[in-house]
């Protein structure tokens, strides 16, 4: 396993407790966990692109970082009053 794939696996393990928080706790706690999970997913995509020597795939991480911002803001607005 290369120096780039091992951290991907470690970060994937870190997503498990965040999934538990999203499923079992309140909506706002879930939102915080979702925001952190978005950051970790972005980093995983970045590391995978580097691991497979495909710099073009980093666009996926870039797109996810942008969409996670928009999605997080929409969720925060919804959680404010309606969820």
């Amino acid at each position: 396993m290369t120096v780039w794939l091992a951290p991907c696996v470690a970060l994937l393990v870190g997503l498990v407790p965040l999934g538990v928080v999203i499923l079992r706790r309140s909506a706002l706690e879930g939102l915080v966990a979702l925001e952190l999970a978005s950051v970790i997913n972005t980093l995983i995509l970045m590391l995978l692109a580097e691991a497979f020597h495909r710099p073009g795939f980093m666009d996926l991480a870039l797109a996810l970082a942008l969409l996670a911002l928009a999605g997080g803001l929409v969720f925060a607005r919804l959680v404010e009053r309606w969820i």
């Binding site: 120096v3 780039w4 951290p7 470690a10 970060l11 393990v13 870190g14 997503l15 407790p17 965040l18 538990v20 928080v21 309140s26 706002l28 706690e29 939102l31 915080v32 966990a33 925001e35 952190l36 950051v39 970790i40 972005t42 980093l43 970045m46 590391l47 692109a49 580097e50 710099p55 073009g56 980093m58 666009d59 991480a61 870039l62 970082a65 942008l66 996670a68 911002l69 997080g72 803001l73 925060a76 607005r77 959680v79 404010e80 009053r81």
Partner: protein, 105 residues
């Protein structure tokens, strides 16, 4: 082991350790405001360390520049998201954003 390999390994280990510690913090903390604090290092220190590792490995080519862009984007987006989430929590708890009459005195 040459210096580049050591630097890359150290930066990657630092980035992953920060992310996992923040995951643990979000799970362990009981208050949502406390949980919110742990999104900060995860979106600033972790991405900077991992982007730094890629730049050290690749230099400022396509991969390096995109890694720096991603880290910069996460760095800018996190305070905005944290503010929006904190605001949502405040409004949810008090049902209004403006201070009450007795809080103004």
């Amino acid at each position: 082991m040459d210096l580049t390999t050591f630097a890359v390994g150290a930066l990657v280990a630092l980035g992953v350790a920060v992310e996992l510690a923040c995951c643990l913090g979000v799970v362990v903390m009981r208050d949502v405001y406390d949980k919110l604090h742990f999104t900060g290092p995860a979106a600033i220190l972790g991405p900077l360390a991992l982007a730094g590792a890629i730049v050290v490995q690749e230099g400022l080519n396509q991969a390096g520049i995109k890694a720096v862009l991603i880290a910069g984007l996460l760095l800018v987006a996190n305070p905005v998201l944290t503010h929006a989430t904190g605001r949502a929590l405040y409004i949810r708890q008090r049902d209004h954003l403006e201070p009450a009459e007795d809080e103004l005195r």
